[in-house]
């Protein structure tokens, strides 16, 4: 329907998460209307991300240097490590503003049915960081679903003798109505209740 270069652009854009073919068409026509400089700036930034971004040597977050911004920051508490599944999970924790320690990105969660076993995650590297001695607490912040809980249980068994292991609390989301909460969430919230 469209000239080949436009078709190619739509096909590539439609491969992006959350972008269907209609949205891809809208973005393609938007780019066609923009100047050549705008299009080149977008193309350059995509290539630069692929060329310059790598994994942090210590925590495996994304970085453009050897260490990520959290591992480089001398003001962070190096006795705390928060374990997350993906780099994107760091963002809400940072936005929360409560946590000032370091991170460790596993690169996924255990899922035997999908063939994801401990050796496929960066668990060995986490153990090495703990054994280096400075860490006093590991906070497991994997997702509160079956894979995330399995991963948390596995890490707890592995590290319990070496360091204090804690898990993010599960319960009711702030701003929600109790009457709409599901049974599993209410049950967890009840188990994790705290004294006022």
């Amino acid at each position: 329907m469209f000239p080949e270069p436009v078709e190619n652009l739509i096909t590539e854009l439609a491969r992006l998460p959350g972008i269907g073919r209609r949205s891809a068409q809208r973005i393609a026509f938007f780019l066609l209307r923009r100047s050549r400089e705008d299009a080149e700036a977008l193309a350059r930034s995509i290539v630069a991300v692929k060329d310059e971004i790598t994994f942090c040597r210590q925590c495996f977050n994304f970085t453009d240097e050897e260490l990520c911004i959290f591992c480089r920051d001398a003001r962070r508490d190096t006795s705390l490590i928060c374990v997350v599944e993906e780099p994107s999970d760091i963002i809400p924790i940072e936005k929360g503003g409560e946590y000032r320690g370091l991170y460790h990105v596993l690169g996924g969660a255990l899922s035997p049915l999908d063939g994801v076993d401990p050796e496929h995650l960066r668990i060995g590297e986490l153990v090495s960081r703990v054994e280096d001695g400075e860490v006093t607490e590991v906070i497991v912040a994997t997702n509160p679903n079956t894979s995330g809980e399995s991963t948390a249980m596995y890490l707890a068994d592995l590290l319990r003798e070496k360091v204090m292991i804690t898990r993010l609390a599960s319960g009711l989301p702030v701003g929600a109505d109790l009457e709409y909460a599901d049974e599993a969430t209410v049950s967890r919230a009840m188990q994790g209740r705290r004294e006022l």
């Binding site: 998460p17 959350g18 035997p112 049915l113 063939g115 509160p144 679903n145 079956t146 809980e149 399995s150 249980m153 989301p173 701003g175 929600a176 709409y180 909460a181 599901d182 049974e183 599993a184 969430t185 049950s187 967890r188």
Partner: protein, 242 residues
């Protein structure tokens, strides 16, 4: 003609779809296995919350679309959360779910299959809530009973070729059961305890399997037999041993 319907369902598993959605595999009482889109379920304030974790039994409201069905409502019947909280129960449960996911075709009405899984989960949840129960034997029992319902009951009482009823120490999926030493057929060795365990698991209700004591070797060989039967007759490769 698209339409909405209600059914009891068990959550087999799920995978991510787009930004915040999932495709959840449901084993329903009405329509068999149904891949179902659940919109926004990965968001913190999703109204489905923790109802769609594996092993959960729910009352589902589904909208039948042209390709996939969409979940429009869900009420919990049994959370079976205790299975997810005990690693041994979780591993055994995932192995059973894996077999049900692979062996059952989509949208095929099989009420006995649904009842088998519901019964297995109920028994395993009860065992997980107590102490000193076996999780492997009920899982193997559920897997063997699923083979029975699918029409692939292995021949265990006598040699599948000549009918001899002693010295049954080999198993051949291609031949359909155990073999005596004299009969031809590609087979692997099994102990008499394994053959006996498979017979008992097929004959007895799952509620008794949680109390059953079986040797590690017999348990492992039973799983090898189940895996071979699945591979040969159902064309599926089981990934997890209970």
């Amino acid at each position: 003609m698209p339409r909405t319907y209600n059914t009891d369902a068990i959550v087999l598993g799920s995978h991510k779809l787009g930004e915040a959605d999932r495709v959840v595999s449901l084993l329903t009482a009405e329509r068999g296995k149904v891949p179902t889109v659940v919109k926004g379920v990965r968001k913190i304030k999703s109204r489905f919350g923790g109802r769609l974790e594996p092993f959960s039994r729910i009352q589902a409201q589904l909208y039948e679309g042209r390709n996939l069905h969409t979940l429009t409502g869900a009420d919990t019947i049994e959370t079976n959360a205790v299975i997810r909280d005990r690693p041994a129960a979780l591993k055994a449960g995932l192995a059973v779910i894996d077999m049900f996911s692979r062996a059952i075709p989509e949208l095929e009405h099989r009420p006995r299959t649904y009842n088998l899984l519901a019964n297995y989960l109920r028994e395993t949840a009860a065992a997980a809530a107590g102490d000193d129960h076996s999780f492997k034997t009920p899982a193997l029992g559920a897997q063997l009973k699923l083979l029975l319902l699918a029409g692939y009951l292995p021949h265990l009482a006598s040699c599948a070729v000549c009918g001899r009823d002693e010295d049954l120490r080999r198993f051949s999926a291609a031949t359909g059961g155990v073999l005596c030493p004299g009969c031809p057929g590609e087979a692997f060795s099994v102990t008499p305890e394994t053959v006996s365990l498979m017979r008992v698991l097929l004959e007895q209700p799952l509620s008794q399997a949680t109390q059953m004591e079986a040797g590690e070797k017999a348990v492992h060989e039973t799983w090898l037999c189940i895996r071979e039967l699945c591979r040969f007759y159902l064309g599926c490769e089981l990934r997890l041993e209970p």
